[in-house]
Symmetry: C2
Subunit: 119 residues, 2 copies
Amino acid sequence: MTTYEREIYAVITTSNEHLTVEQIFAEVRKTYPRVVLATIYNNVNKLCKAGLIRRVSVEGIPDRYDRIQKHDHLVCRRCGELADITFEDLTASLRETVGDTFLSYDLKVFYLCPRCRKK
Amino acid sequence: MTTYEREIYAVITTSNEHLTVEQIFAEVRKTYPRVVLATIYNNVNKLCKAGLIRRVSVEGIPDRYDRIQKHDHLVCRRCGELADITFEDLTASLRETVGDTFLSYDLKVFYLCPRCRKK
DNA sequence: ATATATTTTAGAATCATTCTATCTTATATG
DNA sequence: CATATAAGATAGAATGATTCTAAAATATAT
């Protein structure tokens, strides 16, 4: 692991939020002021391919990066904010339906977050 | 409904595939050669907001448009190709977990499509 | 110690999508 | 019917996240 890989991995896994590349960039910059945005892109891609982090893509907003530990996501339909939920694991059931080419799944649950609910 | 809305709606709902804006554009053009790409964008957006069609966003490839009738999607991890599956309806169970701010959900199942499997 | 591979930097390029301004068509009102 | 107003379509520029390319720096291996 390179310095940046380690640093970016740490930023993502120690954060309780779902960080965008820009947010990771801002964070890494505090320690390594000369880092460049492309380096963050390079490394989140590498970390994703290595299976150490996961990308969370929500339509219309920049991709976010997250720890891999199994969990699903709540997405606010109004503001796009992400939150974690842990719903029952569908793996076995899906593998049965799909067959042995099944790889993984992504469950996004749309809702109104508490803040948006008030409005 | 305007002429284009009707036409675009028809193209999407009569197709067995999951069409991109470009594909819809090509199709509509056959009947209305003077149509412009922005018109397709305007109208798919309007149709989505009206709840007559749904957008299917898969990371890294252009958005696709689909009929609304409840079903889930298989996404090939290798080529991005989409296919339909109908998995058990999780609505009731999710509403229980999430509460009454629950709106809807999106389940994507990643697999290897038959074509990619061969390689 | 030198060659080779990997990583980073810098900035240009890409490309789906949105936006703005203008023109056209449809609808409503007197 | 004529004119006003709203809605839709066109054309093309703008946006913005992400990727790509080429060069520079750093690390690894022989």
